[in-house]
Amino acid sequence: MAPGDVVVAEVDTVIFHDLSLYLTGRTFEQEVKGQRILHPERVVIVFDHFFAPATEEGARILQANREFARRHGLPHLFDSGTGNCHYTAIQHGFIRPGAVVVGSDSHTPVHGGLGAFATGIGNNSIAALTLPYGTAWFRVPPTIKLLLQGSLARGVTARDVAQYLVGRLGEDWAGYKAIEYAGDLLPRLDVEERLLFPLMCIDMDAKAGYIEPDEAVAAYIRQRTAQSFELVRNDPDAVYESVQTFDVEEVEPQVACPPTVGHVKPVTAVAGEPIQYAEVGGTPGGRLGDLRRLARVLDGRRVHPDVRLQVVPVTREVFRQALDEGIIAVLHDAGANIFPASSGSNQSTNMGALTAGQAMISTHTRNFPGRNGSPEARIFLASTYTVAASALKGRIADPREFLE
């Protein structure tokens, strides 16, 4: 198998959220028609956009999905409030090293951080091939190796480095290619922090991101599934299109500014921008580590009166653990609003609309104009530390002063 070959691969896990299942289900029943789902047990459905529908349309979409799952005997439906689709799939043991994972969410490559091959494909691709035949077609991508070397400076997290790479390399830098992340930074990060790199590879248009799984990944997976798996290792003679090295020591906290994910600046260049909303949630935020970081900055302080700080845990399990650690009390007392485990304000499906002139800073993944309400609202993307500091100040703020 060489770059450029087209392969038909067996799919181990298909991930749907409520919106993608609704569309795929309609394509499957109305256009593909008359087919059975070959491996119902490989399909993971998570209602993460509509966590409590405020419209009749939202209620109808969820109900249609429940009925689709029942009709086709799909056993793994995680209803509203369970979590974000990717972390729910991880939490319930559907992602293992060596697995082929697809979904129509563009951030599906996140699972490459656990040693899976994972990529986003269209709903019709899933309806026509993956559901009836258990397969998907792929053109084998060339691979670029990115070596991330060094330690992170104070107040800097994997999010900042991943975002820095997008700004530095460009939004189309890795088109049709895969990126393998390696280097001595990665073993220093916990497994969930490493996931930020493959997660954000899509912002450089990569097909997939990958990190060679190690014992830390194996332990992380074993906590979530009893199913056996092999710790896939790189071929000693693996061929890379190029190998590039980045020293991360100098990276500062980074902010992606409107209108695109590639418009990345150091926080010092945008500090002072007034914001009305701050949110910690979405696939790159709302994990236990994020809630701990948020609590570290907020402990004993109050959110600025002009700001609504919204906290969205990625899974119920994260919420539960945060309760046990006293984190939820710290966030609550600081004035944060806590939302159910979900995808939060992502594309303002169930929350998070902005009107013209407003601004939000969040840990989410996209900042295109109009993504959350008015095209004249502004969306900034940053690490949990930077979102936390900004929520305290009412303006985009450098988190380092809170992390002495």
């Binding site: 349309e57 563009s106 295109f368």
Partner: protein, 173 residues
């Protein structure tokens, strides 16, 4: 899909993302005509109507980046566009365009060679785009991909393929 298409050009820049092409709030349908009523609406309410007056969309680098929604391709089919020519495509859009039967051409010089409203002609067999400023060549798509485009996308392609002669389903390999 026609072997040659000719028509008036609507012009876009670099890094046009799928949130701009079709907003997330309209992702509740798979009907291309219904989706076309909202194509590029983020740029102004007149855009869905404006789009219908053109035949070929020409853009710069990384067209269709961002969210992987296939409606970004199918809404352009619904708006009556016959092809998209860009300097480069985001991978997810490229795949979705093939699967929804929207012909795509990667040909970097075209973006700088046409003005909005001018006519261009694409010859898929010869791999050429003819503009008022000259003719440019592009590498053709693989025959397997052309077969999918020829019948209007992946779903009709597979239905046709498996309906004839009881062909077996694709196997993993």
């Amino acid at each position: 899909m026609e072997p040659r298409v000719k028509g008036r050009v609507i012009l876009f820049g670099d890094n046009i993302n799928t949130d701009v092409i079709i907003h997330a709030r309209h992702l509740r349908t798979i009907d291309p005509a219904e989706l076309a009523e909202h194509a590029f609406e983020v740029l102004g309410d007149e855009y869905p109507q404006k789009l219908r007056q053109f035949d070929i969309l020409v853009a710069g680098e990384n067209f269709g980046c961002g969210s992987a929604r296939e409606q970004a391709a199918s809404c352009l089919v619904g708006a009556g566009l016959k092809a998209v020519v860009a300097s480069s495509f985001a991978r997810t859009f490229f795949r979705n365009a093939i699967n929804t039967g929207l012909p795509i051409v990667e040909c970097p010089p075209v973006r700088g060679a046409v003005q909005e409203g001018e006519e261009v002609e694409i010859d898929f067999a010869r791999g050429t785009v003819t503009t008022p400023k000259g003719t440019f060549t592009f590498p053709g798509l693989p025959p397997s991909v052309m077969e999918i485009l020829a019948v209007g996308g992946l779903v009709p392609y597979l239905k046709r393929k498996f309906a004839t002669a009881g062909a077996p389903p694709p196997r993993a390999g």
